[in-house]
């Protein structure tokens, strides 16, 4: 673990070590390791809480009361989006993630991508991360597809030469014709999705995070993107795929994780887990027993 020596040991680290959870990590085998992950958002109870007036009123009231305040009293509600997830993903795995809306799927993906800070726990990713998240790429709708591709690559920390080497492949895969040099605001959502997919898969990713990005395309695009995913997996690249399309997951994934209310309910064979999930959705019961998993 010499590569980790640059970090200060946090309290969580010590806790994990004490609980015997900290095993010697083997970057050769694991692509993504998640240990005891919690992600908590703090959202204002009152939508005006971010304004000066609101703050001033609160401060005045608080000084009048002088009482111990909880998070809610301070005007915040804590949203526990992910509550204690452990996950090990081997290189070359396609892991599907399913769950109802608000189950914490996208939050988990953003935490693995390093966008959202964990409030507890630890995430280890071995390999270059590329993201294709729900909101898509694109910096400026006034700029052309070509310019946005370059900007995306530069923001990801690539050099101009590395981008130039990949650009032709990206343009050919996205197959946008003359639209590639037109402002992105003129694109249809399918074209947008095609370019976004082309960029994230051609940036030589070792860990690719895809969040409901395959749904916008037509049948031809779907076929092409399945093939591309298969190609990446053949090169031992790891893919985390959030989707509501059970058919897609059954076709592409080697494992499926079912999340419910921020917790991992089941992880295993795609057929079994998706069937179980569908049964659960039809029944609509609270999985009281499963919540303790």
């Amino acid at each position: 673990m010499s590569s980790l020596s640059a970090f200060e040991v946090s309290r969580e680290d010590l806790d994990l070590a004490a609980a015997g959870l900290e095993e010697p990590s083997d970057p050769g085998r694991w692509s993504v390791r998640v240990r005891g992950l919690h992600v908590t958002y703090r959202t204002p109870v009152d939508p005006r809480a971010n304004t000066l007036r609101h703050r001033a009123m609160r401060m005045a009231r608080a000084s009048a009361l002088r009482r111990g305040a909880t998070a809610k009293d301070r005007g915040f509600r804590e949203v526990l989006a992910v509550r204690g997830v452990d996950l090990d993903v081997e290189h070359g795995t396609v892991l599907g993630i399913i769950g109802a809306n608000g189950a914490g799927k996208s939050t988990l993906m953003r935490a693995v991508a390093g966008i959202l800070p964990p409030s507890q726990g630890r995430i280890e990713v071995n390999g270059r991360i590329s993201t294709l998240l729900a909101l898509g790429v694109g910096f400026n709708g006034n700029l052309s597809g070509r310019e946005n591709v370059v900007l995306g690559g530069l923001a990801a920390g690539m050099t101009r030469r590395q981008i130039a080497e990949r650009y032709e492949q990206i343009a050919a895969w996205a197959d946008l014709g003359e639209f590639i040099d037109m402002p992105m605001k003129t694109y249809s959502s399918g074209m947008y999705g095609r370019l976004a997919f082309a960029v994230s898969t051609h940036m030589d990713p070792e860990v690719l995070l895809i969040d409901e990005a395959l749904s916008a395309g037509d049948a031809k695009f779907k076929r092409k993107s399945y093939d591309k995913i298969g190609e990446l997996v053949a090169q031992a690249r790891t893919i985390l795929l959030v989707s509501h399309a059970m058919g897609t997951l059954r076709e592409l994934c080697s494992e499926v994780l079912w999340m419910h209310r921020g917790r991992a309910v089941a992880l295993g064979d795609p057929e079994e887990v998706t069937a179980e999930y569908l049964r659960f959705q039809e029944v609509g019961e609270e999985p009281v027993v499963m919540e303790d998993v």
């Binding site: 980790l4 640059a6 946090s10 703090r42 390093g114 800070p117 900007l151 923001a155 070792e206």
Partner: protein, 293 residues
């Protein structure tokens, strides 16, 4: 942002593999060395983003990029008219170049502040979709403000030469004066970007604050004449951190003479101090940005 490290790890497929570790941290400061390295790696993003933003901005206007020159010219004219009416038409021969020099530099500072304030909030999609040092966003806005400042400098030089002014060795003192202002403006830009995340009213108040600051700065009037008067107003003007920097700048560029040496020292202290304060404040808070957007 969470801690992200890249270290060579012997991968199974041979060759070095990046390793990222994201963990919960008590202290908000990321590892400065890793952070600055990541920032430096993306320097081309700043240039490309600034260039394409400026290009896209005046895409639909009749005069196009000519607005970059027209804007400062018109602003200068408006203030000249204002002061001309107020002073009854009596002022020094060098008054117009003096006004332009100060006004353009102040506009650069005001641009850094207002664009900086919008930089994080305005890029919420980018922040939620990719992981990179967030300091990149206000830095890009500072570079854009600088690119806007350059054509205004051209306007100044044209006016200056038409008025048959000449340059001396002391004129070069304008360069260190500008560096002080640029550092000061960058620090303020980082502070504004952070403030806007927490207080959304900030951007509404900011234009009035900068307008008042303009009137308290030696732009529409000359520093020497006001400092020689006594009274509380002179003291307030002497306390204005911009006074020494703008005084040095105006004297060097327009009169071709060296201002008081202590002005440069004061300017350097304010510039470096504010820059460090702003950088640390932004880096300390930036992990929270993605959960507060």
């Amino acid at each position: 942002m969470t801690v992200s490290s890249e270290a060579a790890v012997p991968g199974s497929a041979g060759g070095a593999r990046q390793q990222h570790v994201f963990e919960a941290q008590r202290a908000g400061m990321p590892n400065p060395r890793v952070y600055l390295e990541e920032l430096w790696r993306r320097r081309q993003f700043v240039v490309e983003m600034a260039r394409s933003t400026l290009k896209a901005q005046n895409y639909t206007t009749l005069f196009g990029q000519l607005w970059l020159v027209l804007n400062p010219l018109l602003t200068g004219f408006v203030y000249y008219l204002l002061v001309d009416i107020l002073s009854g038409g009596k002022h020094a021969a060098t008054y117009f170049p003096q006004l332009l020099a100060g006004l353009f530099l102040f506009n650069f500072l005001a641009g850094c502040m207002s664009q900086g304030a919008g930089s994080v909030i305005g890029s919420s999609r980018l922040i939620m979709n990719s992981s990179f040092p967030r300091l990149l966003l206000p830095i890009t806005q500072i570079v854009i403000a600088f690119f806007r400042f350059l054509p205004s400098l051209l306007v100044f030089f044209v006016v200056h030469f038409v008025k048959h002014e000449h340059f001396t060795w002391a004129s070069w003192l304008a360069v260190p004066a500008f560096v002080c202002v640029a550092l000061f403006a960058s620090g303020l830009s980082f502070i504004c970007a952070t403030a806007q995340v927490y207080f959304r009213d900030f951007a509404n108040v900011l234009p009035y604050l900068t307008r008042i600051w303009l009137f308290l700065s030696p732009v529409l009037w000359q520093l020497e004449t006001q400092l020689n008067r006594s009274g509380p107003k002179a003291e307030l003007i002497a306390m204005n951190p911009l006074s020494p920097m703008l005084g040095m700048w105006g004297d060097a560029l327009v009169e071709g003479k060296a201002g008081r040496p202590e002005w440069l020292l004061q300017g350097a202290c304010w510039g470096i101090g504010t820059f460090l304060l702003g950088t640390v404040l932004f880096m300390w808070r930036e992990r929270e940005f993605s959960v507060r957007l």
